[in-house]
């Protein structure tokens, strides 16, 4: 199913694995260092620079440019989410985030975490930054620039950002682990020439 989503969004239980979604509204970029700092903030009860409730988190390190009028996004696309897997649970728990955007997904052990926190994972085509950056309307704010531009938190206004495939849903389905498991089972058959 093709779906247009307007954020902030609280309930994503209608999204099912295989749906193709486009997002309009706000997204916030975040990767390794910012995720780590944020989880430390949550654990030490320090207030983060913004309220994440309802805003999709985009695992991404954009290419940005500073002009007279402020910041512009030159290029952006998903980065590998697996690097943030260890922090997924504390992150979802404390942030209230319901949509994570990235590439490569998470392993089977995280499927249950998405289910528990009623969250989904969306995968836009990795590397397709020329296409994806066209849907960025404006840089709304930037936080934690001390981490370096790719690692900073960029709050972006986007319009019909996608296509993204819902790859882990809130009902316990994870495409990556399904594909991986079936592939692992095939390996010996392929090598032996049985398929």
């Amino acid at each position: 199913m093709n779906l247009d989503i307007t954020v902030p969004v609280e309930d994503v239980s209608n999204l099912k694995v295989g749906d193709v979604v486009y997002i309009t509204g706000l997204v916030i970029t975040m990767r390794d260092q910012a995720t780590k700092r944020l989880v430390t903030y949550f654990q030490s009860k320090i207030k983060p620079p913004l309220d994440f409730q309802g805003i999709p988190v985009f695992h991404c390190g954009p290419v940005v440019k500073r002009t007279d009028k402020g910041w512009t996004v030159e290029s952006l696309g998903p980065t590998t989410s697996a690097r943030m897997e260890d922090l997924l649970e504390p992150f979802l728990k404390a942030s209230g985030v319901r949509i994570i955007i990235g590439k490569g997904g998470f392993s089977e052990k995280s499927t249950e975490i998405f289910k528990r926190f009623k969250a989904v994972y969306c995968n836009p085509p990795g590397g397709a930054s020329a296409l994806l950056s066209k849907s960025v309307r404006r840089v709304s704010a930037v936080y934690w620039l001390d981490l370096g531009p790719p690692e900073a938190l960029w709050l972006l206004e986007v319009y019909k950002f996608g296509p993204m495939v819902v790859a882990i849903d809130s009902h316990g389905v994870n495409i990556y682990s399904r594909v991986r498991e079936s592939a692992l089972k095939r390996i010996s058959k392929i090598v032996e020439g049985r398929i």
């Binding site: 290029s75 590439k103 995968n123 296409l131 095939r186």
Partner: protein, 302 residues
């Protein structure tokens, strides 16, 4: 000795080789990050037209669209403009000499600001970002001497998604073709969507540990469809490609027919007691650009 001095020069008449090389390097970077080679584009379009999974088609369609937009609007193919890698093949008869590393460093720094490129280069421990994509031993540079009088400079911006899943395996010599196949397939499946499939696999077989890794990287410079000159190796390349595409990992690891666009093997003889195997993944955004510099200072970029 006198003859040697006359033969190698930094400049001939008004031609300054440093200037030429700097110009070439900047142009290679610009071309590589905004367009993908024709052979790769053709293979992606073919994959799009023949993909069987619905999600796979959606992903490949967006990638085809992305390539078009990048080309038409001069945008980056992918936001991860990678770590800069230069590979130089220097003809033994060339009249030119240059401090490659210094010149390529300048080119990378200039291109980072002008294009702009994402500042990706950090200290390995402190993670301090140099902000201009250069650093100690970066850009990565490999120089080899070859026959002839031309200098071939290749540039490859290598993204982390695909580089991070690359691997090295020291096998025992009794291991068979099946073992090699098994290892490669397992690596592909474990990598899943991380290297942005459909990928290209560079495989280094034999040599020593470092030689195998280098061969795997250099294999990625060969265009899609190009077969290894050794017919046995060429057969193994197509066998591996077929096998990898039977895994069903598919575009972006979301399932489908196209996991891999091509497999390239480079090999070297090795010690009777060892069998090194290196795998270097390249993503669909298989960016590379090369230039051939002639003795008269003219050059051609491809």
């Amino acid at each position: 000795m006198k003859d040697f001095k006359l033969k190698f020069q930094y400049s001939i008449g008004k031609l300054d080789f440093k200037e030429i090389l700097l110009e070439v390097a900047v142009k290679l970077i610009d071309k590589a990050v905004k367009t993908i080679p024709e052979d790769v584009e053709k293979a992606i379009v073919e994959a799009y037209e023949t993909e069987t999974s619905e999600i796979g088609v959606k992903m490949l369609e967006a990638i085809v669209e992305n390539i078009r937009i990048a080309k038409e609007e001069g945008r980056l193919i992918c936001q991860d403009t990678g770590i800069p890698v230069f590979i130089v093949e220097e003809g033994l008869e060339t009249p030119w000499r240059a401090d490659y590393h210094r010149i390529f460093t300048e080119a990378v720094s200039k291109a980072t600001e002008a294009i702009p490129l994402r500042p990706n280069v950090v200290h390995p421990l402190t993670r301090m970002n140099t902000r201009d994509n250069t650093g100690f031993r970066i850009p990565v540079l490999h120089v080899a001497k070859t026959k002839g009088s031309d200098i071939k400079v290749s540039f490859m911006p290598k993204g982390a998604g695909s580089e991070n899943v690359s691997s090295f395996h020291m096998l025992t010599p009794v291991k068979t073709v099946e073992t090699i196949k098994n290892i490669i397939l397992t690596r592909v499946v474990e990598a899943g969507g991380m290297p942005c499939p459909p990928t290209i696999l560079g495989v280094g077989l034999g040599g020593t540990s470092e030689e195998a890794m280098l061969m795997a990287k250099k294999a990625l410079l060969r265009p899609i469809g190009d077969e290894n000159k050794d017919s046995e190796i060429a057969r193994f390349e197509s066998e591996l490609l077929e096998a990898v595409n039977k895994t069903g990992i598919g575009p972006m690891g979301l399932g489908g027919r196209w996991t891999c666009l091509d497999v390239k093997i480079e090999y070297a003889y090795c010690h009777t007691a060892s069998l090194p195997l290196a795998i270097n993944f390249q993503c669909w955004a298989a960016r590379r650009a090369s230039a051939v510099i002639k003795p008269n200072g003219s050059y051609e970029i491809s």
